[in-house]
Symmetry: D3
Subunit: 136 residues, 6 copies
């Protein structure tokens, strides 16, 4: 049983705003991130899968399959996008790093076949990251 | 004579579009970056100043002064902004990494007092950066 | 349930010495780190908190609160200090990376409110780090 | 109870090939990695040990001992080697990152004395790494 | 006039050996790198081009063109290769980092159209790199 | 003609204080760095040499020689030291990053044989570094 992690990157814009909050609350809670024009990040995504090593290939998972799944389920939807405007999950969820990690988990988990999804880590900046293990 | 470099970061959204190009040209030349909703980056900025070491302080430049200048001239204008919409220089210039480096040079160069501005480096991603030395 | 990690840095001096050891033992066990003048490091601290995502803010924890707690409980005490001489916990504990991680855990854990402290990681250099989960 | 991690590096050549596969299967499954001349990597190895902090030294493990064990059990065998040709374990196992992590675990685990081996992490590139905890 | 740098990576095997040296000289001069089975590296390549910013696109160079040139002239020849055996320039030159930088310069320089090649930087490891500016 | 750069690290303590300044000036100019107990850093040193590639070895400089020179001239004097107290050059010079770069240049330049010293770069933190080219 080993854990394999693949890292990739995407660039996206977002802003933080809760229409149920007053303008003052939005400003106090979200600060500079509340700017409605949006700002952006180079997000780094680490996806960890867990499984037994196939004795014939030496692989836990076919890396090309994993890459294709990341591309079709995550990167094509998030890369070079304005998250609030273009990603359905963020119509009613604020696109914080926490929610991004959860959304990516929800998109990837049902598509895993050979190996099991173990962890999704999202870096918003090199100094801030969130891990999701699919725990409730 | 030594060269001191200070690194800092800012997050911004942008997109690439030239109104003089046809939609097809904009798409061909700018690809995913042409999405009008915008996307974003964590930009890393390196500012290099050049000068003699003050024998009393051991400094080329007072780091607090340098930080204040970076804050007032660059970061307050660019950080957590949508470059095309909120930064005057990008009303009629495309906010590429090349133009960002030039704009930051133009903003900083007149404010330097003790030391001389030597180089502005802007990383759009860890794999792409532009250097400006103020050469014509 | 997600895990959010915030990274920050501090610079400190220290040396390793146990007054119960002979000079030879101190030298053999601690090597260059036994130099009583002290030497120093840029420490990198990663603090991980664990909790549910607040559906209204999208946050596990208010980042400004977390930053303030790190500042008041850890950085103000350790940054730009000589650990052996200025930090009470190191009057009778050797300021190894192991003990630094434990001390930081002990300082932060009682101050956590909304989220739970999950892990304290301290890098002494990029090639050496210690994790503390508060396990006995 | 804390976890200490030591990072080191080694450079090695390898290629992927299973003699039980047809040439087409080898090519399809292993792609460019199937080139029999071999190619290579700077591998980064992170070894994590777990244990109580010795109250007299402040250490979980003597770092010099750990370094010597890494050198004699792992680096002397793998560094500047062609893995398929020079490392016995890879005579009949494909030297994937997964199998490298397992082989390093198997080499280190029996040699641990004071502290317990907790995790072996091997980076093949900065974007791909495998963790082994010795789980079956 | 600005300088744009693109970073990419390739993995290759090599060894150092001069048939005009005695075995003892080869061993003394090249050490572990003399192992004829070969070892390998993840090389990082930084290519810097210099030019004026096109006022219509905001680009010094079309990044897709640059990427295609890097792919066809450099990466297709060096990536996942054993340099001594598969790259013609290294039939009679030792594939040191110095010579790699020169060979990459020689391959790229004649293919530059819009912008001028300014510098080729090759990292053999994160701690060792060579710059070539095409100086004689 | 190529430029080869070797990176290495050392850990040291220091503080900033000019006895000709009043306590208030020392505090205002040097801030937290004025703490007389000292604090410390992991310094990263990059040494760049310039020269022709030896056609027989493929090297600009013998890396073992370069490493030995760095060890004997720089690291043995600075690593695990309190710079103000243990390094003669800092008896009457403040150990700023600027002065460290100059002192390392002065120590290395006379010892260079085959290749020429081109640049000394010293990082005090990942966000602050100084380059010295030996210019007056």
């Amino acid at each position: 049983m080993v854990y394999l992690t693949r890292k990739c990157e995407f660039s996206a814009a977002h802003y933080y705003h809760n229409p149920e909050f007053s303008p003052e609350e939005n400003q106090r809670i979200f600060g500079k991130c509340n700017n409605p024009n949006g700002h952006g990040h180079n997000y780094t995504l680490e996806v960890t899968v867990k499984g037994a090593v196939n004795p014939r290939s030496g692989f836990v998972v076919d890396l090309k399959d994993l890459k294709d799944t990341l591309e079709s389920e995550v990167l094509s939807a998030l890369d070079h996008r304005f998250l609030n405007k273009e990603v359905p999950e963020f119509r009613d969820r604020i696109p914080t790093t926490e929610n991004l990690a959860i959304v990516i988990w929800e998109r990837l988990q049902p598509k895993m076949k050979v190996a099991q999804l173990h962890r999704v880590r999202v870096y918003e900046t090199p100094d801030l990251f969130v891990d999701c293990y699919g725990e409730k």
